[in-house]
């Protein structure tokens, strides 16, 4: 069935003036004209003609509605042709003026502004004139920001000495005191100033300073000139965990503590129904501060810089993720919770970073939301980013928690190694030959006997064998079958 939108688009395509006015790259599209000019007009006339409400643009039309819409469009024919010619002319003149003024405006924005102006003026009953439109364009361009806040890489490069000085002064000290690696936020290295290649959310604190600047400069909620934003981002990059707000540091430590204390392997899980933690912390409008958990339960997470109640919330959230979500259960069964934690932490850092650059306080409410996003969204998208979409398949059909076979029934493969790191086949060969020659050693390694593990680890050093972790994770079948 046709929708009103489709009807409008095909009607526009049939107008003689359309191909010329709506040429590719010209900014005037059927979507803009339909949304700004045709639909408001149809809505206004529909009621008068039929005493019924006009359908939405995307709702399918019945035959009667389609015929009625067709009739209204025919009546509007000449007027709409004049309007689209006016928009076309206005865009062309506006583009020329924008080039002269060097302002930050796109053709699409210009087209939308002109179409809205025409609709607004003509709704009052008077046809708009070219002079009126020229005035609209002129005013609009005057209010557009000048181009240039988002500096290119070469234009940003001169700030590097400032960054290096700032890093030497405070950045290195902050990194030594607040390790990135310890919170699964990346390597303990000074962030690169400019990266030539692509960057992504998942680089965590390995994200370049330029990338941080680019995000801030492109963020309408961040005030300041290019220079001011650049200096602010340099200072932030040198801050504790790449942030200026202490509350961000607290939030990240709290989430991490939640992961550390989430009982991932066995034991009693802190289920949401057990979540009897005092929830008032979430309503506290002040920035997060480190504190002990309200409950004295020793299983509640705690730690330096952690907000005890937020950490307990994170602990419960992680427990739910690995206990009830297929993906979480799978990651846990495969011993891949380190990866999951890394994804969650990096997502959480991005949230802190966004708040920090916008000068928004990181409060209890922010922290609770951050935990949920980091766990339930950060982990799946992190896996997808690592090209392992298998784990993103979400099936939340509840498995009976008391069914001991439920976990075994989860189907699915293992995941790609988090970081592709080539391993010399010769090292692997040496390891496999050693095990074949010493079946007892192989058996003991499988069952984790300490002396066998120590013996093997010694040979890793002396004979260049493949590390035991690699051997057990990547070169061993799941079971005898």
């Amino acid at each position: 069935m046709t929708t009103l939108k489709q009807l409008c688009h095909s009607w526009l395509a049939s107008l003689p003036a359309w191909p010329e006015c709506a040429r590719a790259g010209g900014g005037l599209t059927a979507t803009v004209v339909t949304k700004r000019l045709l639909y408001p007009d149809l809505v206004a006339r529909w009621d008068v003609a039929s005493l019924l409400t006009a359908p939405s643009l995307t709702a399918p039309l019945d035959d009667e509605q389609a015929a009625h819409a067709g009739l209204l469009l025919q009546w509007a024919g000449k007027r709409v042709e004049r309007q689209i010619r006016l928009v076309r002319g206005g865009i062309d003149e506006g583009m020329a003026a924008a080039r002269v003024r060097n302002v930050e405006v796109s053709v699409t924005q210009l087209a939308d502004k002109l179409a809205r102006a025409i609709q607004s003026i003509e709704a009052a009953g008077e046809p708009v004139t070219e002079m009126e439109l020229a005035a609209v364009v002129s005013t609009y361009l005057s209010n557009c920001p000048p181009r240039g806040r988002v500096l290119s890489r070469p234009d940003f490069a001169p700030y590097e000495p400032t960054f290096l000085r700032s890093w030497a002064r405070v950045g290195a000290t902050n990194l030594a005191a607040f390790s990135y690696r310890a919170l699964a936020l990346g390597a303990d290295d000074r962030p690169p100033f400019i990266l030539r290649g692509r960057e992504s959310t998942w680089d965590g604190l390995g994200r370049s300073v330029y990338s941080r600047f680019r995000m801030a400069a492109g963020d309408a909620r961040v005030a300041g000139s290019a220079t001011e934003v650049a200096h602010a981002e340099i200072e932030r990059a040198c801050g504790r965990l790449g942030l200026r707000q202490e509350a961000g540091v607290v939030a990240l430590h709290s989430l991490f503590a939640g992961f550390l204390y989430a009982p991932l392997d066995s034991g009693t899980w802190l289920r949401p129904t057990d979540l009897t933690v005092d929830q008032t912390w979430r309503r506290d409008p002040r920035p997060l501060r480190p504190c002990e958990p309200t409950s004295a339960d020793p299983l509640r997470p705690r730690g330096p810089w952690a907000h005890g109640d937020m950490a307990a919330y994170a602990q419960a959230c992680v427990a739910v993720f690995v206990g009830r979500e297929v993906q979480g259960r799978y990651l846990r069964l495969k011993g891949l919770m380190d990866d999951a934690r890394e994804h969650a932490m990096r997502r959480a850092w991005m949230i802190c970073f966004e708040h920090d650059r916008r000068h928004l306080d990181i409060t209890g409410a922010t922290g609770a939301k951050m935990v949920s996003i980091a766990v339930f969204k950060g982990i799946p998208t992190g896996q997808a980013h690592r090209h392992d979409r298998r784990l993103v398949a979400i099936e939340r059909a509840p498995l009976p928690s008391d069914d001991p076979t439920a976990e075994a029934a989860i189907e699915g493969p293992s995941v790609q190694a988090p970081t592709g790191r080539p391993v010399d086949p010769a090292r692997i060969s040496a390891s496999l030959a050693l095990l074949a020659e010493n079946p007892d050693l192989a058996h003991d390694l499988v069952y984790g006997r300490e002396d066998a593990v120590a013996d093997y680890e010694r040979r890793v050093q002396s004979d260049g064998l493949v590390p035991l972790d690699d051997l057990l994770r990547f070169l061993m079948k799941d079971d005898e079958s």
Partner: protein, 445 residues
């Protein structure tokens, strides 16, 4: 088939600030997860006409994106259900519009890039993906530099074209859409925008026509090939390179694409492995299919036997242009030869895993097989142009259904079965991506 009708969907609060919009179903061909502001959308590649599910993790941040993609009713339903004091479930109507259709198409293109066994022109696929990312920039998360990506993707396709190759309508339309996006969405004075306007002059969008051109040949290529595996002996056989172990473009994606032979002596054994190289791909703008040397020099293989917990041996594969395949062998001593001999004596045979030099966890071969057959079925169904094509694709899905049930994944099996039935009944059709259209229609385009 694309999203076109108003749908009534569920909205449910899941706890911990999460709200689920739509339905989460078993996805044997794998869902494509697309992060949007404040939420995660999962597109079902097998059923592009279904409303993709949306897991909202931050209702405030997601409100604008959900409104744009799913409509006003859905956005208010999410906000209604989210607070603990509100109802735990409700329903809302979704009127799919261009943005949601673009998002689903983005999912389809990404699925094809990762899982379609067809030799698609990745340049066109990348261009389509970048174009859709650009269109959806306002709602997508984690988009870094879409104009740069899109400009490079356009440049690659345009620069590759040779004068005497007829333009294909779907590919031309894609190029025009991509350049239009760069020309109109970026600041007027941006050099990329100026360049796009220059490239657009004289280029007309193609008329999306269709042709049955080369469909039959490609679909035949996807039909079941179990005979290759059934003919194994204990000292020679075939394996299939897992699509997760080796990224596409390095080897072929057919079943049984790795052949091995085992020579056993008393005090030594040699396992030789050969793997088919990547297929020739017909690039848009080029007159004939071309082979492209894989972007890696070495692969590795491991062999496992039933009676031994670890890999019994490992070896390296090197690419040879002469026979366009990867080959290598591993010679091992008495202890490993004895393990292999024991396995052969017991009627077992080695299973060979081909991988890149990176060590990655080994996945269940049975799962991988079922998944591959599901993907083959979907890839075949997408390009099916007549009754025979559809039967072949449905047959592939039937096979996938059996494989899923063998590993106790009945839900996936049921989905495959239903997909096969819907396809045969004519209830399941797909819009081709530009790369697919070029592949199956390019000869007559």
């Amino acid at each position: 088939m694309t999203l076109s009708h108003v749908r009534d969907v569920h909205v449910a609060r899941l706890g911990f600030g999460r709200v689920l919009l739509g339905e989460e179903r078993p996805l044997p061909a794998e869902g494509v997860a697309i992060p949007i502001e404040g939420a995660l959308v999962t597109v079902d590649p097998a059923r592009p006409a279904s409303i993709p599910s949306c897991l909202v993790t931050d209702p405030d941040a997601a409100e604008a994106s959900v409104r744009l993609l799913y409509g006003e009713d859905a956005a208010s339903a999410v906000l209604r259900v989210w607070p603990d004091a509100g109802p735990a479930r409700t329903r809302c109507s979704v009127e799919p519009d261009d943005e949601l259709r673009d998002l689903v198409r983005l999912g389809m293109v990404r699925w094809c890039r990762q899982f379609s066994p067809l030799p698609l022109d990745d340049g066109l696929s990348l261009l389509e993906e970048s174009m859709l990312v650009g269109r959806l920039y306002a709602v997508l998360e984690d988009v870094d530099d879409w104009p740069g990506d899109l400009e490079r993707a356009c440049g690659r396709v345009i620069d590759r074209a040779e004068g005497d190759v007829a333009a294909h309508p779907a590919a031309e339309r894609l190029l025009v859409d991509a350049l239009d996006l760069l020309a109109t969405r970026l600041p007027i004075t941006d050099p990329i925008s100026i360049g796009a306007r220059e490239r657009l002059s004289g280029r007309e969008p193609g008329d999306p026509g269709t042709s049955d051109g080369r469909r039959d040949a490609w679909v035949a290529d996807l039909q079941p090939r179990l005979a290759l595996v059934a003919g194994d002996s204990t000292t020679a056989g075939a394996a299939t390179v897992d699509w997760y172990d080796v990224r596409r473009g390095l080897t072929s994606m057919t079943e049984g694409n790795a052949r091995w032979t085992l020579e056993l002596d008393e005090d030594a054994a040699v396992l030789s492995v050969a793997v088919e190289g990547p297929p020739a791909v017909r690039r848009y703008g080029r007159p004939a299919a071309e082979r492209e040397r894989p972007g890696a020099d070495r692969l590795a293989f491991d062999a496992y036997v039933p009676n031994w917990r670890f890999a019994v041996l490992t070896g390296e594969l090197r690419f040879g242009e002469a026979d366009w395949s990867w080959a290598g062998s591993s010679r091992v001593g008495a202890a490993q030869a004895a393990l292999l001999q024991q396995a052969v004596d017991a009627g077992g045979r080695p299973s060979v895993r081909v991988r890149t030099l990176e060590l990655t966890p080994m996945q269940s071969p049975a799962w991988a097989l079922a998944h591959r057959w599901t993907c083959r079925g979907l890839a075949a169904a997408r390009v099916a142009g007549n009754e025979d094509d559809r039967s072949a694709a449905a047959e592939t899905w039937h096979r996938a259904a059996q494989l899923w049930r063998l590993i106790r994944s009945d839900a996936h099996g049921d989905v495959c079965q239903q997909l096969a039935e819907d396809l045969l009944a004519g209830d399941l059709t797909y819009d081709l991506t530009a790369a697919e259209a070029w592949l199956v229609e390019g000869a007559s385009g």
